[in-house]
């Protein structure tokens, strides 16, 4: 049931893609496996604002944060990420879908059988190289290190590669302080439909989330193969953060909790997040509290401007 509820929460465009998946299954058939290899660009068809310029501060709406997760998010000052020791720390693996960039994928093949041992998803800015092990190897023990890419194993079922990622580090689920713990695991579905790929990730965290968080992102095969397979180097430098302290807000002192209200008229309580804010029914609850601003306050006319430009700009070369 929970899965069905979550599906309903995922964007309608994704449901559309699910429907096309079934005929595609027959097309592959037999022993031949689909391939994830290629240069995949990111057309940024959903959440383009939060995924490029970033989300509003302290807007946690739509995130199934529990009380601990809400408290952690509100105590987090983004200045902490300017500390010398954190500047090159990168984002956790869910940034593949939460970030704006495309991905370059290549395979390691078994030289004797030709079967796929692993896929590599190339690094890019803020994201390290990830490996999806396809050879059935087990996940490491609980005492093994947690890495920036985590440990990911996968299996094709029809045209969907389903993977499980463990051993990840604590890190952001929204670039405004919302975080998940190092006990987080990801179940990812790489759904290939010809030249389109939908990646649907369920983020599960027993520490900071009360329900799995579904996040999806579409990719398009890029024949020009311009997506880079590695990111730029990172050298930390002084960015104004006091090296002798850790930037954070004491409980109840985060000054940015009004941003969602000031920008869109959405009540403060929605900005605090929580599982109920993921579902359409939550609108009914907000109906009386929501006051539509008299005039547009943010991103005004953006939809028209994007249409004039022929849709959201794709991150072709990234």
């Amino acid at each position: 049931m929970a899965f069905i509820r979550i599906l309903t929460a995922v964007a309608a465009s994704f449901i559309g893609i699910l429907m096309i998946v079934c005929p595609a299954l027959a097309q592959f058939g037999g022993a031949a496996e689909p391939d994830l290899s290629g240069s995949w660009r990111s057309p940024l068809q959903e959440d383009a604002g939060p995924r490029t310029r970033g989300p509003l501060p302290a807007d946690y709406s739509g995130l199934p944060l529990n009380d601990a997760g809400k408290a952690l998010a509100l105590s987090t000052s983004i200045a902490r990420y300017s500390a010398i020791d954190r500047q090159c720390a990168m984002y956790p693996p869910q940034y593949l879908v939460l970030g704006p960039f495309g991905m370059k994928v290549w395979a390691d093949l078994d030289p004797s059988t030709g079967s796929t041992i692993a896929y590599h998803i190339g690094a890019w800015e803020d994201r390290t190289e990830a490996v999806i092990w396809m050879d059935g190897r087990p996940h490491p023990s609980a005492n093994a290190p947690h890495t920036r890419a985590g440990f990911e194993t996968g299996q094709w079922r029809g045209n969907t590669l389903t993977t499980h990622t463990s051993h990840i580090k604590m890190g952001m689920i929204r670039r405004n302080g919302a975080q998940v713990s190092d006990e987080t695991t990801l179940t990812s579905h790489y759904i290939r439909n010809g030249n389109l790929l939908t990646v649907l990730v369920f983020v599960e965290d027993p520490v900071y989330l009360s329900e799995p968080l579904p996040v999806s992102k579409d990719f398009q095969l890029n024949d020009a193969r311009t997506v880079s397979g590695t990111g730029p180097p990172c050298s930390p430098s002084y960015e104004g953060t006091d090296p002798n302290s850790v930037a954070h807000y004491l409980p109840g002192t985060n000054p940015l909790t009004d941003e969602l209200y000031k920008t869109h008229g959405v009540p403060k309580e929605a900005a605090r997040g929580g599982a109920e804010t993921m579902y359409p029914e939550y609108r009914k609850k907000l109906k009386d509290a929501y006051v539509r601003p008299e005039k547009c306050l943010s991103d005004c006319g953006l939809a028209e401007r994007l249409r004039e430009l022929g849709g959201p700009r794709a991150f072709e070369d990234h």
């Binding site: 997760g69 090159c88 023990s141 520490v207 050298s235 850790v246």
Partner: protein
Amino acid sequence: MHTRALRYLLAVPAFGVALLLGGQSTAFAQHLDSQALGDGIELFRIRPNFYVLMGAGANVAIQVGSDGAVVVDTGDAAHADRLVAELKKLTPRPIRYLINTTADADHVGGNEKVAKAGRNLRQLGNPGANVVPAAIAAAEGALLRMSVDKYPESAWPSESFPESMNLYLNDEGIEVLHQPNAHTDADSLVFFRRSDVVMAGDIIDTRRFPMIDVANGGSISGEIAALNRIIGLAISSIPIVSREAGTVIVPGHGRLLDKIDVVEYRDMIVILRDRIEHLIKQGKSLAEVKAANPALDYRTRYGNDKGSWTTDMFVEAVFNSLTADGSKQH
């Protein structure tokens, strides 16, 4: 492959096979080889000649080479014979040095048996003489604690130091660095410079909040200073950030870490210290501080409501440590 590395591989057949098969996956070197040895004991090989044994009390590090074995912490007494047996499988050469990161029973419990299974370097020129056990090195505070806690003398540190001690064994420099008043007053970090491994002792416990033993000289400011020193010793994979690499930090208990993991742990401890300090400045009592639930966002991951080290005990240790130092503030 040079001959020394080959010798290690031959000495540890299972790891040899794992390394040869996994040779192509260097990008995942950080998902280090590990072997379950049964009875909840696990052996990691984190460098060609460097092992970490988990599940026998505190985490134990073993560096091997032509000079013999250097062992950091000896686990608890119940596992001492097992530790000796595992050490003998890793190297045919004698155990030369034990180093203790603190004086707690789960770190020094094997001292006596492991030292006796070894052979002191002082006997290098005189192999026929009566066997002198391996040396045991620790901070002076550890020697003091072990004598007070009535350990047999053969378990006590044979070489103790007020601030630091250096060794050069098995082709690498080893720095043993006392960290005053952190987990206790007996703590040391052990930095293997060539292996690029830091043994953190109980300054880090990835399963729970650090055990700040105020009665035995521990303090929140010393704990934070110790975490900052570890962060200072460790190096991340920069500027090439697209691969997993860097210094390995081995906590006293729990999983293997890298620098950013320690930064995350340090940040949590500093944030909790700041919150409790803020409440103290508002004049709150210990009971009021506990009731304010200052560790709300970290207690699911690192706290316990029951057992030997609860969230309340951690909050109380920080409170007591701040109000004791705090004659400065008030």
